[in-house]
């Protein structure tokens, strides 16, 4: 897989050199053989170096990489079996959300995931991974079913945002998301959410009120997509990189301020360089968290979940002089 992002230019050059040498195959001279080994080592080191200090905006580019594994890729690589459940039973089936029952390490779990498309055609089907209200309602429906059958819920988060169309307003995008926040905060089974790519705004939160929030190493999670935040702050999407930096949206920065529970390491150069390894890491992380959560009695789990979100937020106090400041 090619290094094709802006900040990966030095890596791309090394990669080109390596491919050139590899093409020679058996005709490789002894000194070229050494060159190849050195170039490979160099590529590894440079990649490690660059990726160890990605900025927020660079992380956004990795999280949005066109080759990044999506939910269906992870499901295929992680689960022994999967049966997709469709439709919200009220309006339609939103293909931007993939939900269903899966066998994971011998146990049945309920999966609720965003799904982006790989090409133009699939992106029409998946609506660029931006769910409509019926997607959130499908998610709510299957999560209630998970509660009924005591299946843990695993959510894979990867969406730019909930879709902002007029029809979405008509069908209650806000209500659909709000209802999931309400539902998930009291759902009587363990919930683990993993941000695998973009965690965009309410569109991401709508399926990630969970006992544990994990993030892949080069994923992002933000209150609004950087472009939207730039529009709100400066009325210009061109300042998206500045918005991304200022909002500290990369997984690493969010872990540093304890807004996420665990980072899942990615293969060198990002998940798209090695699907299997990315999926293996994801599986290990999810299973470990689930094992921990399953030890808790359900009421304690719910209270911990409540306290988890209850305690998010930083604020201060100022002394209040009674009656004095209330001249309005």
């Amino acid at each position: 897989m090619a290094y094709d992002l802006d900040f990966e230019k030095p890596l791309a050059e090394l990669e080109k050199k390596i491919i050139g040498l590899q093409r020679k195959g058996d005709r490789l001279k002894p000194e070229e053989h050494i060159q190849l080994q050195e170039a490979e080592r160099d590529l590894r080191h440079r990649t490690e170096e660059i990726y160890s200090k990605l900025t927020s905006w660079q992380t956004v580019q990795v999280a949005r990489h066109k080759d990044r594994p999506y939910a269906i890729d992870y499901i295929e690589l992680m689960c022994e079996d999967f049966f997709e459940l469709h439709g919200d039973r009220a309006f339609g089936d939103d293909r931007a959300i993939v939900a269903g029952i899966a066998e994971l390490d011998g146990c049945t779990v309920m999966l609720v995931c965003h799904q982006k498309g790989r090409d133009a055609k699939e992106n029409r089907l998946r609506n660029l991974g931006m769910p409509h209200p019926e997607g959130y309602r499908k998610a709510g429906r299957v999560m209630q079913q998970a509660e009924k059958f005591h299946f843990p819920v695993i959510c894979l988060i990867d969406t730019p945002a909930a879709f902002p169309g007029l029809e979405d307003e008509e069908r209650g995008q806000a209500e659909a998301i709000a209802n999931n926040l309400y539902l998930m905060s009291r759902l009587r089974v363990p919930i683990v959410a993993v941000v695998t790519g973009e965690g965009g705004s309410g569109g991401a939160l709508g399926i990630s009120v969970a006992d544990r929030i994990l993030m892949l190493e080069y994923s992002v999670y933000s209150v609004a997509p950087p472009e939207a935040a730039a529009t709100i702050l400066w009325r210009d999407t061109a300042f998206a990189p500045q918005a991304a930096e200022a909002m500290r949206i990369s997984a690493r920065e969010l872990k540093a301020i304890d807004l996420v529970d665990e980072l899942i390491p990615e293969p060198l150069g990002g998940a798209h360089h090695n699907y299997q390894q990315a999926a293996d890491n994801l599986k290990v992380g999810v299973l470990r968290q689930l094992a921990d959560l399953k030890k808790l009695p359900i009421n304690e789990l719910l209270e911990q979940r409540y306290q988890k979100f209850r305690n998010i937020g930083k604020f201060g106090y100022v002394p209040v002089l009674q009656e004095q400041e209330i001249e309005i």
């Binding site: 909930a162 902002p164 169309g165 007029l166 979405d168 307003e169 008509e170 069908r171 209650g172 995008q173 806000a174 209500e175 998301i177 709000a178 209802n179 926040l181 309400y182 539902l183 905060s185 009291r186 705004s201 309410g202 939160l205 009120v209 999670y221 933000s222 209150v223 609004a224 935040a229 529009t231 709100i232 702050l233 400066w234 009325r235 300042f239 500045q242 918005a243 930096e245 200022a246 909002m247 500290r248 949206i249 969010l254 807004l259 979940r305 409540y306 979100f309 209850r310 998010i312 937020g313 930083k314 604020f315 201060g316 106090y317 100022v318 002394p319 209040v320 209330i326 001249e327 309005i328």
Partner: protein, 308 residues
Amino acid sequence: MAKEAAVPSTGQSSSQNQAKADLAHIGNLAVKCPKCREMLLGRDWEKNLKVCPRCSYHFKLDAFERIELITDPDSFTEIDKGIISVDPLNFSSRSQVYATKLEEERKSVNLNEAVVSGHATIEGMALALAIMDFRFIGGSMGSATGEKITRAIELGIEKHIPVLIASASGGARMQEGLYSLMQMAKTSAALAKLGEAGLPFFSLLTDPTTGGVTASFAMLGDVTLAEPGALVCFAGPRVIEGFMHVKLPEGAVTSEFVLQHGMIDAVVHRRDLRQTLTRLLRFYSKADTSSLEPVEANASHIQATSSS
């Protein structure tokens, strides 16, 4: 009554022009209705609860005006007045220095946060309330906003009284990043607890109710009311038009629009608001719990529960 001369310069700029229009009155002597352009006498306008007598345009109320409008005189006790926003991310980028902005807003609006919370009575019936104020950074929801709203809900649970939240918000506060987003989950989780305690939540949507506020507590009312003509939406007209490359039809994403599409229960004129809330409080205070006794319970158990 409010010192509205200085319009805060804010980052949440989507509805700011509207806010300026709302405040385009000259020392309260005369006010121009931004909708029908009628010149209104300041005194008449205030007497009419800041509603245009000609076209019924509802001007924005600040939190204290709204509290005065709906609660019994002198019944309101404010809580958590000293909670203020801090700058958890050291947000400073291109002309936007959040810490400075907070200072300015506190001074110019004379509020510590975008919400005023506490408890009061309406026709003698107690309730907890959180009333948002659009003047403070466009009513945007940051950590302190979410905390105050959550505490108001928890006050309802603790005192076993209903909760009213009046929304007026441009959405989540960008400058607090993911902390802001998580306030949606925090407030919704508190409402779920309120619901489990069997207590009603009344949501009042006022102009504007948008973004993360709409997609959390605002849309979770057991009864959801809206003032006429309020902007009520998730994405906002500018975003929808920009994204979809369409011009929104007249009256889209307003109170009447969401009523028509089944998202709220009623659009209530400001003059009827107090009376409507009174009726609702009465209805919901008369829950019949007698049938909730466990059938298999023995006599002593019934006694124990009914005396509690």
